[in-house]
């Protein structure tokens, strides 16, 4: 979200169409061929992509009047905080629950909206993808704090509000995958990607997390590690949560350099 102090009058849809066409890339099953279907829905105010899909699912008939199967997609929170509903809308990767039809019509013109699944993940069916690998990446970088146990040991280490805020920014990553979808270096899961790097950085910044920084950095210096980043900075532009991804990459690279130096000195 933008700075709340700058005031901008929003561009409105002045002449709404009677109907909107929703063009959906479909796939019946993992590994099968994709095809397109278009659905026409009556225009109403305050539609978003999810509510349109809900409409279509109720009576799945294409624009040409052909009865078809209901499109499948993922959704949960509908508040842009769980990350599950991510897809490519009019060519841009984003959450479908916060994609308003009015806004899309204003910004992209015409009266067709195109929905595609993210292209960098296995496409389960229609708009649903499998992002398991993103959670696997979190394992690779030990994205957690090593606790001695959950028994009562009093509060954690003190921390300045500044550090807490800096960490807070990283903590908001909802594993949506937009950054991987946009990253030119990421394909076929060859690269661990900015999300996992940022999560490693998030833990490395914590006084307790720092103790095990070596293990996290090790996870990032493997073949699929941080050196794959070409610094294209696409990731940060598409991240809906404003995670400081390029900064995480920069600082982690710095940590790795320092670490390598110390590692060498220690020998």
């Amino acid at each position: 979200m933008s700075n709340s102090n700058e005031f901008k009058e929003k561009k409105r849809l002045t002449n709404p169409p009677q109907t909107v066409d929703i063009k959906i890339q479909r796939r019946d099953k993992l590994g099968e061929n994709a095809y397109w279907e278009t659905f026409t829905i009556p225009y109403r105010r305050n539609l978003n992509v999810i509510s349109v899909l809900m409409d279509i699912r109720k009576t799945p008939v294409t624009k040409e009047g052909k009865q078809t199967t209901p499109p499948v997609w993922d959704m949960s929170c509908l508040e842009q905080v769980c990350g599950i509903c991510t897809m490519v809308i009019n060519g841009r990767v984003r959450q479908s629950c916060s994609a308003l039809i009015d806004d899309l019509l204003v910004s992209d013109g015409g009266n067709t909206i195109t929905l595609e699944p993210m292209s960098k993940f296995p496409n389960v069916r229609d708009l649903k993808v499998d992002r398991t690998r993103m959670f696997e990446h979190l394992k690779q970088v030990n994205a957690w704090i090593e606790l001695d146990g959950t028994h009562d040991l009093g509060p954690g280490p003190t921390m300045s509000q500044e550090t807490a805020q800096e960490r807070y920014a990283y903590s908001r990553c909802m594993t949506c995958g937009c950054c991987l979808e946009a990253c030119p270096q990421y394909h076929d899961d060859n690269y661990i990607g900015p999300q996992a790097i940022a999560q490693a950085r998030y833990q490395n910044m914590h006084p307790t997390g720092k103790i095990t920084i070596d293990e996290r950095l090790e996870g990032l210096t493997q073949e699929d590690g941080i050196t794959n980043c070409g610094n294209a900075q696409n990731c940060i532009q598409v991240c809906p949560m404003g995670i400081p991804l390029t900064r995480a990459i920069y600082e982690t690279n710095r940590d790795i350099t320092v670490n390598a130096l110390f590692g060498w000195l220690r020998k």
């Binding site: 959950t150 509060p155 954690g156 807070y168």
Partner: protein, 654 residues
């Protein structure tokens, strides 16, 4: 794999499920963790306001006992007191534990945890991480559980939906059957004990502030297999949410605190642009009815009035919505004071509330009711435990803000050792091999086949819509017995029509039609529990309000409603509430003559740039808030609640 061969299945990976998983894994036992969505995407991410615990870092003399008293009082004395007390005592430890896990809680200058003041209390008792505390707490548990996953102690089954329990001949729970949502494969999970942590049932009301996964379906399945469901009729409704085509999103009450006015066109059919409707043709119904309080009436009254106006058909455009108007206030001032929450409205509605009146409506928010559990989180089915929003234990007739997250973790932390203890002692006999799992799997397979085979003309999504509308209209804010009866009849009709649905998806791979059908059936069952529980309770208490019975009636109804399934209808019975620690007192709010009881949840603004307020910070108890004002020891003579909050905010913004 597990050190001494115990296996605990946990259904649900929200705050409660992950808390339980962590404790079981840490104790060295094996966990099968089953969840519809990847656990990191559970509904708990939506919680924003914070988590309560009487840590008393502000030298206000706060204590777990006071937290206990606030919770019991806020819940209108319907909660059994012992577990509430235990929870309040554990709460500070829970917050400290999250602190050690690295949750980026807001800090004081000294670098300690910061606490904010929240609805329903006089103390700074709520720890918060920006405006997305639930997200941060859930992620912290998710990280810890992932660590145990890499050690092989937790097996995750994400994208699996529980369909039923596996019960042996003696009604002992021996595991469960779940469905893979991609392949539709069914699998029977063997377990020495099962912990349910599947969250709330908001989807029964069609649209709510809950996530789409909050169907209550798993809990309903357990209920239909013999688990008792308690206090189902207690459903919390938040007064101001943003109605969307797809869901309701919370709108902070600080909008009214800053001068927002609630109105509808005087002529219900008036479809003019709100700006073109002159002052005299607007009905400021709160101001008209409550000249002293105006738009700042307490939350429950606001909820009921808005609801009533829409029920009469006077809502904007004849729909369930009224205007919450800020446009008379200078745009710059609004941006400065309410910027973050206005942006939420803009993001999801697309209108700028500085220039266009917001449209709002009360939204179903939380279920106080749930599976019946004893003080060790055991349900009445041996081997079945429950924790989190899906159990009924802590919040009585009404939940206080920021008390849910702590109750989820508490529930998980109690359920885990309780389940382990049980599992150690239970006789296994030949339950793994005697075929009960295979039999239950077959039973579920048959139900699936039947639904797939059906060729009826009914549309399941339309049945869902109808159920949601009836439940929202008649079983939420204001309840009348005749309408409750009619609703129950409607539900029976919908159950009948359900049998004639066709799922409309010839492609069964990853279909959402079959899971939705299963959920819908279960929701219809639970809807009857909620409706009939409300019908039977002829009093008003907490979130349950009947104009025909406006008072609390302790003599007849200081009792837990218990519903047990039968093919005919839910069978209701009543159980005494354990109130030994704090004697029930009247929640007398008529004497509170303060000018306003408005909330201040824009405290979230004070955190600076990184702490952007997200949709729907919820901060106040649903209950009768004047009492807080009345008892507001910190409010000086002649000073209103609002003024107090304003001062606080100013302090915060410095």
């Amino acid at each position: 794999m597990a050190s001494n061969g115990l296996k605990i299945a946990i259904v649900g990976g929200g705050l409660a499920g992950l808390a339980a998983a962590l404790k079981v894994a840490e104790a060295g036992h094996e966990v099968d963790l089953i969840s519809v969505v990847p656990v990191k995407r559970s509904h708990s991410v939506c919680a924003q306001g914070g988590i309560n615990g009487a840590v008393n870092t502000k030298g206000e003399g706060d204590s777990p006992w006071k937290h206990f008293d606030d919770t019991v009082y806020g819940g209108d004395f319907l909660a059994n007191q012992p577990p509430v007390q235990k929870m309040c005592e554990m709460a500070p430890q829970i917050i400290y534990l999250f602190d050690r896990m690295g949750v980026p809680f807001s800090r004081t200058r000294e670098g300690l945890l910061d606490f904010r003041r929240f609805g329903g209390t006089l103390h700074h008792r709520t720890a918060f991480a920006g405006a997305s505390t639930g997200q941060q707490l859930l992620y912290a548990l998710d990280e810890q559980v992932r660590r145990f996953e890499t050690e092989g102690k937790v097996n995750k089954y994400e994208g699996w939906e529980m369909l039923s329990l596996v019960l042996d001949d003696h009604q002992v729970c021996r595991g469960l059957v779940a469905m893979n949502l991609q392949t539709l494969e069914l699998k029977a999970f063997y377990a020495d004990a099962v912990i349910m942590a599947t969250g709330g049932p908001g989807m029964i009301f069609g649209k709510s502030t809950n996530s789409m996964t909050c169907t209550g379906s798993a809990v309903s399945a357990a209920y239909q297999q013999g688990a008792k469901y308690a206090n189902g009729e207690f459903i919390q409704v938040h007064p101001t949410s943003i109605p969307g085509e797809d869901k309701l999103r919370l709108m902070s009450e600080s909008a009214r605190g800053e001068g927002g006015r609630v109105w509808v066109p005087r002529n219900p059919g008036d479809n003019r642009n709100p700006k073109d409707i002159p002052e005299t043709e607007r009905r400021y119904f709160l101001e008209e009815k409550y000249p002293a309080y105006g738009n700042l009436v307490p939350r429950d009254i606001a909820t009921r009035e808005i609801f009533q106006v829409c029920l009469e058909g006077s809502g904007v455009g004849g729909e369930n919505q009224v205007y919450l108007d800020l446009t008379h206030i200078d745009a710059g001032t609004l941006t400065r004071k309410l910027g973050a929450i206005l942006e939420i409205y803009e993001m999801f509605v697309g209108d700028d509330p500085r220039h266009v009146p917001m449209r709002i409506f009360p939204g179903v928010h939380y279920s106080m009711g749930g599976l019946w559990v004893d003080f060790e989180q055991r349900t009445n089915i041996p081997g079945l435990f429950a924790a989190g929003e899906c159990d009924y234990s802590i919040h009585g007739a009404n939940r206080l803000g920021a008390n849910s997250l702590v109750s989820c973790v508490y529930g998980g932390f109690v359920a885990a050792p309780s389940a382990i203890e049980y599992a150690k002692n239970v006789e296994r006999k030949n339950t793994e091999t005697n075929g009960i799992h295979a039999a239950e799997l077959r039973r579920q397979q048959e139900i699936n086949s039947q639904i797939i085979k059906n060729e009826g003309s009914e549309n399941q999504y339309k049945i869902h819509d109808e159920m949601g509308k009836w439940m929202t209209d008649n079983v939420t804010v204001v309840r009348y017995n005749d309408r409750l009866k009619a609703t129950d009849e409607k539900l029976v009709e919908l159950q009948d029509r359900f049998k004639r649905i066709s799922i409309n998806d010839s492609n069964l791979w990853a279909t959402q039609a079959l899971p939705h059908a299963r959920q819908l059936w279960n929701m219809l069952q639970l809807a009857r529990v909620i409706t009939l529980g409300a019908l039977n309770r002829d009093e008003s208490r907490g979130a349950h309000y009947k104009p025909d019975f406006p008072d609390r009636n302790d003599e007849d109804f200081l009792k837990t409603t218990i519903a047990e399934w039968s093919a005919e209808a839910p069978v209701l019975s009543y159980e005494a509430v354990e109130v030994g620690l704090i004697e029930p007192r009247k929640r007398d709010y008529t004497k509170g003559k303060a000018k306003a009881a408005v909330t201040n949840d824009s405290t979230a603004e004070k955190g600076g740039a990184a702490q952007i307020q997200q949709p729907g910070s919820e901060l106040k108890p649903q209950g009768r808030e004047e009492t807080w004002v009345k008892e507001g020891r910190k409010i000086q003579e002649g000073e209103s609640f609002k003024e107090l909050n304003d001062k606080e905010r100013e302090r915060g913004e410095q």
